[in-house]
């Protein structure tokens, strides 16, 4: 549950933002980033639906890469689990 996912902001409506990560869209609260200036196109680290920090595009992209790797490894290992 505490896995952070970098997402890019697509749309902002008050404290809520539509964000995307690799084609998947989610509503994300910006309530904890009121001290920041946030704009469409920015990247944020999202935890359980709340943006906790702004981040750079480069950092977001390298984290996405890592997740792809982890997910494919985990899928393979869990499928190999005996019944």
């Amino acid at each position: 549950m505490c896995l952070g996912i970098p997402m890019q902001i697509v749309e902002i409506d008050n404290f809520m933002a539509r964000c995307q990560a690799k084609g998947v869209e989610r509503d994300v609260s910006l309530f904890m980033l009121q001290h920041e200036t946030i704009a469409v196109g920015d990247f944020v680290m999202v935890h359980v639906g709340y943006a906790i920090q702004k981040m750079s595009e480069q950092e977001a992209l390298s984290t996405w890469e890592l997740f792809d790797e982890i997910l494919s490894l985990e899928d393979a290992a869990l499928q190999a689990t005996p019944q």
Binding site: C2, F31, H35, M45, H47, V48, I52, S62, T63, E74
Partner: protein, 361 residues
């Protein structure tokens, strides 16, 4: 320019290490990245990477899960919880309901959620029902719960809070006679919220090198290299190897909401016991499920609060034992039929090791 994983590994292998080094991490996300990118086998043999108390589901009090099950069994209640919590078994007699998942199968209205925002939505959509949000988690999860409360919630939403702080468990280990590690990789996202300064005590009070890491292999290797160099040079400082997201003082807005809506109290950790000033308690008693629902009986049970019989999760959580040293690992306990919480949660060391293909010793 930042270095690649291979460059970091080369630098680590070039260090004149003579003695074994035990580096603890306290974050399920770190342990996942370490295990699944195979860092352990790539590092010099003298370096041990130990998964410590980094899984909130694993240390969530058994009594709280039991209470959540009892509340969920009431007709008027909709219970919402993070999906990870549903399969954690409690200690009850053989034919009693032992998890939220079993309670759901028996007809309880239990809904797994991925965000506190969903709890809000469910409460708003069901004004005639009482919605209980079983909120277990570390600072990264508890801060959003605080933000939710600060923003205002409907009267029919109640919180069963099991929020915990990460650093007091590390402080407890370091204050004990045998901490079991001589360097720390501090959690990236907990630090993003609370600030990396929170971990300075490790260096200043205990003279243990520490570095905050992110979740890529590069960041974890940078932190590993940093603590190794600190050990070799005997100059200790808190290094921030995740400056892209972490600052010394963290997210002030998040901290303000935590402060406004919750207070820090002594709190029990499953299988570990009470850790001073390690838990969050709601300030607003109206929203507190523990105070609103007085009609669920806390009956005396055998092994209440403990880990399941034969399960070594308590030792795994504290980094005293590796997952595959537990005799249930991979035999009675697998991700398909978990016995202990460390095999249930995506952040539990046992589940991570199993997913990483590590089998019994």
């Amino acid at each position: 320019m930042s270095l690649s994983s291979q460059q970091w590994l080369d630098k680590i292998h070039a260090l004149p290490l003579r003695k074994p080094v035990k580096i603890m991490n306290v974050c399920g996300g770190h342990e996942r990245a370490i295990t699944l990118s195979g860092l352990r086998t790539a590092l010099p043999k003298l370096i041990e990477l130990i998964p410590g108390p980094g899984c909130p589901v694993c240390i969530c009090p058994e009594e709280d899960i039991y209470a959540a099950i009892q509340l969920a069994m009431q007709d008027k209640v909709i219970l919402v919880a993070f999906g990870d919590m549903l399969r954690v078994p409690v200690n009850v007699a053989k034919h009693d309901i032992r998890s939220l998942e079993q309670a759901k199968a028996a007809g309880a209205d239990i809904r797994p959620i991925a965000s506190p925002l969903e709890a809000l939505k469910i409460a708003a959509q069901n004004p005639t029902r009482e919605v209980v949000f079983f909120a277990a988690g570390f600072e990264t999860t508890t801060a959003p719960v605080a933000a939710l409360l600060a923003q205002g919630v409907p009267e029919n939403l109640f919180i069963l809070l099991s929020g915990r702080l990460t650093y007091p468990a590390v402080a407890m280990l370091l204050d004990s006679e045998d901490a079991g590690f001589n360097a720390l990789v501090a959690p990236g996202h907990v630090s993003a919220v609370m600030g990396s300064d929170e971990w300075k005590f490790v260096v200043e009070k205990h003279q243990i090198p520490a570095a905050v890491a992110g979740f890529t292999a590069e960041s974890l290797l940078a932190a590993t290299y940093s603590v190794l160099r600190q050990l070799l040079e005997e100059k200790y400082f808190l290094d921030n190897c995740y400056p892209q997201v972490v600052s010394g003082t963290g997210n002030h807005t998040a901290q303000q909401y935590l402060q406004e809506t919750m207070q820090v109290v002594d709190a029990p950790w499953r299988g570990v016991g009470v850790i001073p000033q390690s838990g969050f308690q709601l300030r607003n008693t109206q929203q507190d499920a523990r105070l609103h629902f007085t009609d669920y009986a806390s009956v005396a049970r055998k092994r209440a609060g403990e880990m399941p019989a034969g399960c070594d999760c308590a030792k795994v959580v504290l980094g005293k034992l590796y997952p595959n040293q537990c005799k249930l690992y991979g035999t009675a306990c697998t991700p398909r039929s978990p016995v202990g919480p460390c095999m249930v949660s995506d952040e539990g060391a046992c589940r991570i090791w199993w997913a990483g293909g590590l089998r019994n010793e």
